[in-house]
């Protein structure tokens, strides 16, 4: 299996220790999934069952996106030519990358490389990522998470994205895109001036059913790849969906890179207050980076900032779902020593520090950011009002979170009655 550093890239070479570490973690994860699927401890069987094969480069042809948009590029022909040329160049670079492990999903690996290389480039006031860049790898579980660690022998940093994260981001963005009226692509890049924002659409049973079945498959079944789901099309908001998926993944990667650049990984495990402070800091740094990069490339920071906000809202949705299926109607308290609850993280992103994190805090831009955040809040509040009763009903019938989540639930929540009883 080749491991390529690509053309002119900053991706470091894989050491044998890092390769072995990643391969071990991936095989272990696939072995667990194999057991869930009834394959026994056959990791290779689970990998082959879940693998979609190698996505051909033609699948990512920018012409396909243009065709889906009605063969008219929103920014005009000149903008299309630039986009098309840049995309083709990037695809050529990306498809030179081969994974280093037999248990690596090549498509997700290349997607992570793309995300990392994008963030590594200096753009506008963002200096890009300083050396050394981490390695990247995917893990196959349904956990909606990413992590960064330092391989203890080679001391190479490695970012892992779980399959569940990719899928849940995708599902979440589909729901948001379908719940809003058409967001004019030209308006998306003009939010520093008074803009026409999308409005919330009437609640669609199709969207409610999709989100309910999606949440249930993540929380109760533990791996959406092993369960069947209906598809939801982004319809009139295809371009919004494409951009939001991209920005949400950038935010999560940038959050992990912030832990690296801020030295959080060279410190011993801290106390809860110290850990929470590091998480707020990583969110803020990621938010700032994406806002500045967006301002330089598209003329506005608002869409990128809204995407960061939406990423944390997505985590909040997952927390609510876990809480509901774990405890039903019983009150529970957040007790994580490593992370603040998503609701606090959202408040921090939207709070007074916002003025220091965005490149041009003009009144129209601030209002647009606030309005878009309120919009997604409202959409999810409405959807949750329909989904929560169904999850409670499932709870009453005995449905519980998958074993995948039990350690996380135990670490993050305590039944309120237990806390009061000491």
């Amino acid at each position: 299996m080749e491991h390529s550093t690509g053309v002119g890239s900053q991706i470091p070479n894989w050491t044998a220790d890092a390769q072995a570490f990643v391969a071990y973690e991936q095989e272990r994860a696939y072995r667990k999934i194999a057991e869930e699927l009834g394959f026994g401890p056959d990791a290779a069987k689970a990998f082959n069952y879940l693998s979609h094969g190698v996505m051909p480069a033609s699948h990512a042809d920018p012409e396909k996106l243009k065709h889906l948009l009605g063969d008219v590029w929103p920014g005009g022909e000149a903008s299309w030519q630039v986009f098309s040329a840049n995309t083709r160049q990037l695809l050529e670079l990306l498809f030179a990358y081969e994974p280093t492990s037999a248990f690596e999903d090549i498509n997700l690996y290349r997607s992570m490389i793309l995300t990392l290389l994008t963030l590594a480039m200096p753009i506008g006031a963002d200096e890009g990522q300083t050396e050394p860049l981490p390695l990247v790898a995917s893990l196959p579980s349904g956990d909606v998470n990413a992590k960064i660690l330092v391989e203890p022998t080679s001391m190479q940093p490695i970012v892992f994205f779980e399959q569940g994260l990719f899928s849940f981001v995708f599902d979440f963005v589909l729901v948001i895109s379908r719940s809003l009226s058409r967001f004019d692509p030209v308006q998306m890049d003009a939010l520093d001036a008074p803009s026409i924002l999308p409005r919330k659409l009437p609640l669609s049973p199709e969207v409610v059913d999709f989100l309910y079945s999606s949440v249930l498959s993540y929380v109760a079944q533990g791996n959406p790849k092993t369960s069947k789901q209906s598809n939801l099309s982004p319809d009139h908001n295809l371009l919004l969906a494409v951009r939001l998926v991209q920005e949400l993944e950038w935010f999560i990667m940038a959050h992990e890179l912030a832990h690296l650049s801020e030295g959080h990984l060279s410190e011993a495990a801290g106390d809860a207050a110290g850990n929470w402070k590091q998480e707020y800091a990583a969110d803020a740094i990621a938010f700032r980076r994406l806002a500045h990069r967006a301002q330089a490339t598209s003329g506005t920071w608002v869409l990128a900032a809204w995407a960061c906000d939406s990423a944390v809202l997505m985590f909040q949705l997952l927390e609510l779902a876990l809480q509901t299926l774990a405890f039903g109607n019983a009150e529970s308290l957040w007790t994580s020593r490593t992370h603040p609850p998503a609701a606090y993280r959202l408040s921090a992103l939207r709070g007074i520090g916002l003025f220091d994190r965005v490149p041009s805090p003009s009144w129209p831009a601030l209002q647009a950011f606030g309005d878009l955040g309120s919009l997604t809040n409202d959409v999810l509040t409405d959807l949750w009002a329909h989904i929560e009763p169904r999850l409670l009903e499932d709870f009453e019938k005995g449905a519980r979170p998958s074993p995948l989540w039990r350690a996380k639930i135990a670490a993050n929540f305590t039944r309120a009655s237990e806390r009061r009883n000491g």
Partner: protein
């Protein structure tokens, strides 16, 4: 079988220093704490080299500290020691060979050491 074992310890929401101290007090060599951060909650991972007797004693300590069960997976090149609250508190489940699972309820260190050595010699 007295060859040192390469072990990995995993848990969430427990005192890391206590878990490390337990490894050290059982004579763990090449102890490495894997520093990691996540977008949301994350587990703790530590690597070490330990003899079977030391591992048996370590499990007893972890059962007391974690107030849960512990799963010991001996199928791979490393012995995985993982906190698990789905099995009865105070019990150790040893996974070995071709997915054989042996549940020991409130075992003694002697029972654990004998079982670990027996299973490792069969798979070795």
């Amino acid at each position: 079988m007295d060859e040192p074992l390469s072990i990995q310890v995993r848990f969430q929401d427990e005192d890391v220093d206590q878990a490390k101290a337990a490894l050290t007090s059982e004579g763990a060599g090449e102890l490495k704490y894997v520093a990691q951060k996540g977008a949301v909650g994350i587990e703790t991972l530590m690597l070490a080299i330990l003899a079977a007797q030391g591992l048996a004693n370590l499990l007893i300590v972890y059962l007391r500290l974690w107030k849960c069960g512990v799963i010991v997976d001996t199928r791979g090149p490393k012995v995985e020691v993982e906190k698990n609250c789905d099995i009865p508190r105070g019990s150790v489940m040893i996974v070995s060979g071709k997915d054989t699972r042996t549940l020991l309820d409130k075992p003694t260190p002697f029972q654990l050491e004998a079982m670990i050595k027996s299973l490792m010699s069969k798979s070795g």
